[in-house]
């Protein structure tokens, strides 16, 4: 039942707010939507072949992409590349997150630390992390270390910044209340500051994961023999478009899964925010 906004009252009540859909219908809509997208894609690629619009190699249908992915999965190479990418992301993100959270907590809590770190961060922040990739390569060569190091560098900033913010935005009233109940020093830190800052820290981690997947590709374009990024770029040489698209989709799925994991963690650890 299409809602075309032909009158002012409709525009006001439905068109802008949108209809509130119940859970089940929303899910059905999602799945239906993706199916529709795939259908459209198939139609388009089919049309390209039938109507001879351009060389169909440039727009393979979804079945070709899927076929390529499955083929590589069955024969084995997909897993090798997937593992390579995952390993780099995991190590890089892990290091970046550890550094970001630890330094962020320190900088958020202690003005002395903040005054030292903040100017450096403020200087480096406007510079797109990608610009530093060649630097890492020059320093450490085209190996695993440069890739992992680069991811650490890239993920550090958002995690650091959101952690600092998480600590600093804590309502001073909460701290005073805790102190008047006897909390001091380390106790205050672990029992009040940490839990209060946790939601922001987790948001920062989520951003970090997304960013890690965002930048891993480019570092795998340059000087890699394995990895999903490598697969994508490698496909360029022989116009293996299904491979390029397939690897991209797999990467997307990985990122989605990573994001989902952090969200799960979020829901667990900050259950007090949404007890429902």
């Amino acid at each position: 039942m299409a809602r075309f906004l032909s009158s002012v009252p409709e525009l006001m009540d439905a068109g802008l707010r949108g209809t509130r859909l119940p859970r089940g219908r929303a899910l059905a809509l999602r799945l239906g939507a993706i199916t529709a997208f795939l259908a459209l894609w198939s139609l388009l690629s089919g049309a390209v072949v039938v109507l001879k619009l351009f060389n169909p190699i440039f727009m393979p249908g979804p079945w070709l992409v899927l076929g390529n992915v499955l083929d590589m999965a069955v024969r084995g190479p997909l897993w090798i590349h997937l593992a390579a990418t995952l390993e780099r992301v995991a190590l890089g993100f892990g290091a970046g997150a550890a550094l970001g959270v630890v330094l962020g907590l320190a900088a958020g809590h202690l003005a002395s630390v903040r005054n030292v770190i903040e100017p450096v961060v403020e200087l480096l922040r406007p510079i797109p992390p990608l610009a530093m990739l060649p630097m890492f390569i020059v320093w450490v060569g085209i190996g695993e270390v440069s890739k992992v190091g680069f991811i650490t560098y890239a993920t550090f900033f958002p995690i650091f910044l959101t952690t600092v913010n998480g600590v600093r935005q804590i309502d001073p009233l909460l701290l005073r209340a805790a102190q008047s109940l006897g909390a001091r020093g380390l106790g205050l830190f672990t029992r009040v500051i940490l839990p209060a800052a946790l939601p922001d820290v987790l948001t920062g981690l989520r951003l970090g994961v997304a960013l890690a997947f965002f930048v891993i590709v480019i570092s795998e374009f340059i000087g890699a023999e394995q990895g999903l990024g490598y697969l994508i770029n490698d496909g360029r040489n022989f116009f293996l478009v299904p491979q390029m698209l397939g690897a991209a989709v797999v990467l997307g799925l990985l990122g989605y899964a990573g994001n989902g994991l952090v969200r799960l963690l979020e829901r667990r650890l900050t259950r007090w925010q949404h007890p429902a």
Binding site: S7, V8, P9, M12, D13
Partner: protein, 257 residues
């Protein structure tokens, strides 16, 4: 003066939800509002008085029944029925005068005339000095006065007010009630006013319509025979208050069950 009431609410009923499992909000409502009358809809929370007002305004379609304003049926919002909302609904990107000017601007009134209109109504609500301020700079009471000026500036046939002073603190509330009373003595508009404050209703209304709890019905209508300028502490005033309170209490007790 044209014959017949200004607002005629005929057999209005409203239910929400899918057919078969619909929740009735309003049962048969019949009400006439005469020209220059200020009628208050009074009742406990959830009795449907705001729903009724929204139907008269044209924001909601009734399940059955019609509303006639000046003899013409209501089928949607229109400038003939000005509205003052509890949340002020001022356009934050426009100044005070920009807000008041909005209706005349939509009707393509010439600039000089708009200027005069804006000045007149800002004077009426006493905010001429703040004409170039933005809503974010105003207090709640001031915002509501701008909203009233905005509604009046468009020269509507009737004005609908949905608990307009509900978001204000007690002092400001009484000040604004005085303001509205004074404005009404100048402008003589036809006003349908929703409130859950008995005191407010007795102070402002020519007639107080007490509604029942869900599904809303008209329980009793109290004509208020008090002078134009009312004394909140006069014995007659308090008498009306207690009479109406008794009736409302019965309804409140029903909701609690």
């Amino acid at each position: 003066m044209a014959g017949g009431p200004k607002i005629r609410i005929q057999h209005i009923a409203k239910s929400f939800g899918p057919a078969g499992r619909a929740i009735p909000a309003l049962a048969e409502i019949d009400l006439d509002v005469d020209e220059r009358e200020l009628v208050c809809l009074l009742g406990p929370s959830g009795c449907g008085k705001s729903t009724l007002l929204n139907i008269v305004a044209g924001f909601l379609a009734p399940t059955s029944g019609t509303v006639l304003v000046d003899g013409r049926p209501v089928s949607g919002p229109a400038p003939e029925r000005g509205v003052v909302f509890q949340e002020y609904a001022l356009f934050p990107w426009l100044t005070v005068s920009g807000n008041v000017e909005f209706g005349p601007l939509l009707q393509s009134r010439p600039a000089a005339e708009r200027r005069r209109t804006v000045d007149r109504y800002l004077d009426l609500v006493g905010l001429r000095a703040h004409a170039e301020k933005f809503p974010v700079q105003l207090s709640g009471g001031m915002k509501q006065r701008v909203a009233i000026a905005r509604a009046l500036a468009n020269n509507p046939a009737v004005i609908l007010m949905d608990e307009p002073f509900g978001a204000l603190d007690a002092q400001t509330r009484e000040v604004l009630q005085d303001e509205l009373s004074r404005i009404q003595r100048v402008e003589h508009k036809t006003i349908l006013f929703v409130t859950h404050s008995i005191r407010e209703a007795v102070y402002l209304a020519d007639r107080v319509v007490v509604m029942t709890s869900v599904p809303g019905r008209i329980k009793q209508v109290f004509p208020i025979k008090l002078p134009e300028v009312r004394d909140r502490f006069a014995p007659e005033f308090t008498q009306y208050e207690s009479d109406i309170t008794r009736v409302v209490r019965e309804e409140v007790a029903k909701v609690r069950e």
